[in-house]
Symmetry: C2
Subunit: 606 residues, 2 copies
């Protein structure tokens, strides 16, 4: 019963009116490929595919789930056919070089593609999504032979890829990885070990699956400094990149999960599987880290996707369902009761979803421009340029991943709530969105890990607060431009106050942390959420400014569209941004209130 329409009007508002992607594309090597007509065509085509091919198999795919039989994984009905269409459309390769068969469009378009297909069917989108991780790793760290052997098929989508990091004893703490890689005389390696939670680890969509695997060389140092990266194909390719012998990697089982059940989450057993080293020995973790920023933006998109889908499906129900009369007076006198969209509390939930979807999209599209630069640097083999943009993106990554996925869970909850008891019934689909959204704060680094990355690593350790000073000074400069604009006053003053507070809090935490290292962990979640709300506030203020300008300039046929942007911004500042207060107070609370309790005092059950 779920439906989806790609919100192209909102997407174009951002890429044209707010961020002027055409101007940004002029500075990219491959920017001229992305002329306005091409962009429009790409967006429309991917929207058609998502709406008509992926959406109809979203709920049925969940109900059926993946099948596992003696190492073979079969995806739900329709998944293979949809994937075939995806390959035929060339969609896997839109942002990869023509040299490998790609369309050589900017990476930002690939992210927008991910958003659209992910909103229509997140678990399906994970199959090409994991391939992207594999392709990006090979693009950046593979040697010429590896690129030549694998990238053509991966970029075409006829082969798929995975990222094999997690093991039973460790996820985040990759220093505990035990999988072994034994060097062979021919320069290859034999890999043995067990990997778990491998998304798309085995399936029937492609003739081959290329695993990127973290493992240890025999003489590797302990911990994270002894991890290397390997490429391990399911079928060993010959010189013509045609599949040959089956490799020693097999799927031991698939997980039974709360959601994303049509995405195969595999236990992979490597038993003397033939692999090849990617990049330098023992530098695998560094490679993973440079790859992580974009992978985490990809997961941040999941937060947006589930917010948007839940909103789109809560809205028609709120217009149709009738219950009670509106407090300010009867709205639909000819009907037995008013549509529930008239009740302010229902509007609160809908507007929260709307504000999170459109605000989150703005945050992601802003960051997507850094991804364009990084992708260009990878193609050009310009490491310094890559690091420069990766560094810039590094501030946004934990916020987009950590904050937006938390909002995805909240939004999906609102969507269910608007349906009342029907929100709990499978047929309606709102509960599926909630179940699927739930994974996003756990994989690709939990919210706690994002929070520690933001506050501990990026704000305090790496920049001693400068990153916040720089970001807030941008906001303040922008506020300065609008300080005398009475339409914008409300936003400008609220943001200015928050910029001052954000800096003060950062300094306070820095000072406390000198004596009390635990404050960094104790405050991290509040700091992450606080940062997210302020950043989204800035994005809403910018969208409101653009909308006001459009209306003032007149001649627009879309005045209602722009008015809705301004109203949503006002809602966000009145009802959502207020959440910063609690986080601000809580983050500077003494860490002792968390650390004091003895481990054995948490419960007295015997």
């Amino acid at each position: 019963m779920l439906t989806y329409k790609a919100p192209l009007r909102d997407i174009k508002f951002l890429i044209n009116d707010v961020f002027n992607f055409q101007k940004h594309y002029k500075d990219l090597d491959n920017g001229e490929n992305a002329d306005p007509e091409t962009v429009d065509m790409i967006l429309q085509s991917i929207a058609d595919f998502a709406e008509n091919v992926l959406m109809p198999i979203y709920q049925s795919g969940d109900a059926e789930g993946c099948h596992f039989d003696n190492g073979v994984v079969t995806t739900p009905k329709g998944f293979k056919e949809a994937y075939q269409q995806f390959v035929e459309g060339g969609w896997q390769g839109i942002s990869y070089p023509e040299q490998y068969g790609g369309m050589n469009l900017p990476m930002s378009l690939n992210l927008i593609k991910s958003e659209i297909i992910g909103t229509a069917n997140w678990p399906w989108s994970m199959y090409p999504g994991l391939s992207t991780g594999c392709i990006n790793t090979l693009m950046q760290y593979g040697n010429d032979e590896q690129k030549e052997t694998y990238l053509h098929k991966l970029v075409a989508g006829s082969w798929a890829g995975t990222m094999c990091l997690t093991e039973p004893q460790c996820g985040t703490d990759l220093g505990q990885v035990k999988s072994k890689a034994i060097p062979q005389e021919d320069g290859s390696y034999k890999l043995s070990g067990t990997k778990i939670f491998i998304s798309s680890g085995e399936h029937d969509l492609t003739e081959n699956i290329i695993h990127i695997v973290l493992a240890r060389l025999p003489d590797a140092p302990e911990g994270t400094r002894g991890i290397s990266l390997f490429i391990v194909p399911k079928f060993l390719p010959n010189a013509e990149s045609e599949i040959g012998e089956r490799n020693g990697v097999s799927c031991g089982s698939i997980e039974h999960k709360m959601g994303i059940s049509s995405s195969a989450t595999c236990v992979l057993n490597f038993d003397e599987a033939v692999g090849h080293l990617i990049g330098e020995p023992n530098k695998g973790l560094k490679a993973m880290f440079t790859f992580m920023n974009t992978a985490r933006i990809g997961t941040g998109i999941e937060g947006l996707a589930h917010t948007e889908l839940s909103f789109q499906n809560a809205l028609p129900y709120a217009k149709d369902r009738r219950s009670m009369r509106t407090l300010s007076g009867v709205k639909d006198p000819e009907k037995v009761a008013d549509a529930i969209i008239n009740h302010a509390d229902v509007r609160r939930m809908l507007l929260t979803q709307k504000a999170f979807a459109e605000g989150g999209r703005s945050m992601i599209y802003h960051a997507a421009r850094y991804a364009d630069k990084m992708s260009q640097a990878v193609v050009n083999g310009d490491e310094a340029e890559f690091e420069k943009w990766d560094d810039k993106l590094g501030f946004y990554t934990p916020i987009i991943k950590g904050f937006l996925t938390e909002l995805g869970i909240e939004s999906a909850k609102h969507g269910q709530q608007i349906y009342g008891g029907h929100g709990y019934i499978k047929e309606w689909g709102m509960e599926l969105i909630a179940r699927d959204a739930r994974i996003a704060t756990m994989y690709e680094g939990t919210t706690g890990i994002q929070a520690l990355d933001l506050l501990g690593r990026k704000v305090l350790l790496q920049s001693k607060g400068k990153i916040i000073r720089d970001y807030t000074s941008n906001i303040m400069r922008w506020c300065g431009e609008y300080a005398l604009d009475k339409d914008m006053r409300k936003f400008v003053w609220a943001l200015t106050k928050l910029c001052a507070e954000w800096n003060t809090l950062t300094v306070r935490l820095m000072l406390i942390a000198r004596k009390d290292r635990e404050i960094i962990s104790a405050a991290s979640d509040d700091f992450l959420m606080y940062s997210g709300y302020v950043m989204m506030g800035y994005h809403w203020a910018r969208m409101a400014a653009v909308a006001h300008e459009k209306i003032k300039n007149g001649g627009t046929e879309s005045e209602e569209f722009y008015t809705a942007k301004i109203q949503t911004a006002e809602f966000y500042f009145d009802k959502i941004l207020t959440r910063t207060s609690g986080h601000a107070e809580s983050m500077v609370a003494p860490s002792e209130s968390m650390t004091a309790m003895k481990i054995e005092s948490f419960a007295f059950l015997d």
Copy 2:
């Protein structure tokens, strides 16, 4: 893999140290039955039953679900046997009069029983839970013949009961009920219509099921003033209360739900089913309302149950799972990494669960004393006395139901999050708790309905703010007693400030509402959550005071237990109570930020 131990130490801390139930029982007609030894024995027996019989069939019951075949519903393996043991223990009747075969213990013990069995297996507990609703309705509104015919079997548990309110077109807005009751010459009625979402509507646990049904008489006024209450048994009983002919009520299907899948949620079709009027014609809604306070406390218990269960199962994992080193220094040097319970951010989640569980339990046990008084009034047929205590309970009901079920969802989320990716895997069970917890904010009146009941009905309409003035004056008096106690200073000052703010906010809302009725709906959710956090803060302060006193008096063997109470209170005040700030700011925001947007401007998708 889930486990449960009834937290008897925490339960006894409340009923003995904090609330002195023995003193309270002295004022009850049936209080002398509840001497300390009996209470201990009851608690221990119900704990044994919950831990050893109900817990082991919780996860398996979810995996199997209920079966539906041509109108017959079969519960999962083990459910019937467990129910038989429940009946043999006499547990259904512990708080009902001996006249009907009950144990005649105070109703508060029945609520604690509900908590313990509900924590072990919430969906199972819904079968006896719905019977309770049916019994309470008959106790209060049934005539002597109806009581004699039905109560013996219902109190014994050999028959079960339901409450049939919701129809496809309406849940909350019962004025839209369409089911018809046609009077017959013999004084009975024939009921026709469709009821949906009927928990325990059909199952194999008992030989008969007694439905309490809302329907309209032919000449009934429109809307809520035309609803009457009927008793409609599945099998018509003869004069000896033995089952006879099958009645015209049948189960059309059961719902496929996000969770509580072992609890049958039925579509019931009434086709000229024989029923009898309960109470007066057209007064059915009033009867439902007086019954609702206790039913909603029962749902509030679900919030506590899922919080406790998630906490109990997150705790051992946090002690076992090892990842990274603690920021303040290595904790387990001999191990590959520190247990994650050492990380402050993990402690934040565990302590949030602990604070919500123990704080929520305190709120419910406080309210349980009103339930004792109401139950006594029903037995004595003293309507005025009933109304007096029902009125008092009425302030707590929407907070306990609305606020604690929201916390149940949050807590279950933390429990999953502590497990990382494993929190998403069915085997571990943490995701089941999250799925089951999700229903609690939707049924028995959504959170939005509780919020409107609190702010609109009870605070503004019925009492013009007096209810808040009264409640806060109690807190302030209590604070006055501790104002000079340096151990308590932190709690006392924070609460005093909040009491002032709570009153100010109430007055501000009252003034705004004179011109702008929509503010009541717009502010209601914030007001509910704000009220909940402050109320729970008061409970934590009281528990801290008792704990301090116990430690000061010395001679206790449980100093660590009491210290943990104080530490949890400090955590609550430092990290949770700060959430009130955002709600306070948001609730007085202009309702226009919610009402201004035109319905057609919420989305521009075409």
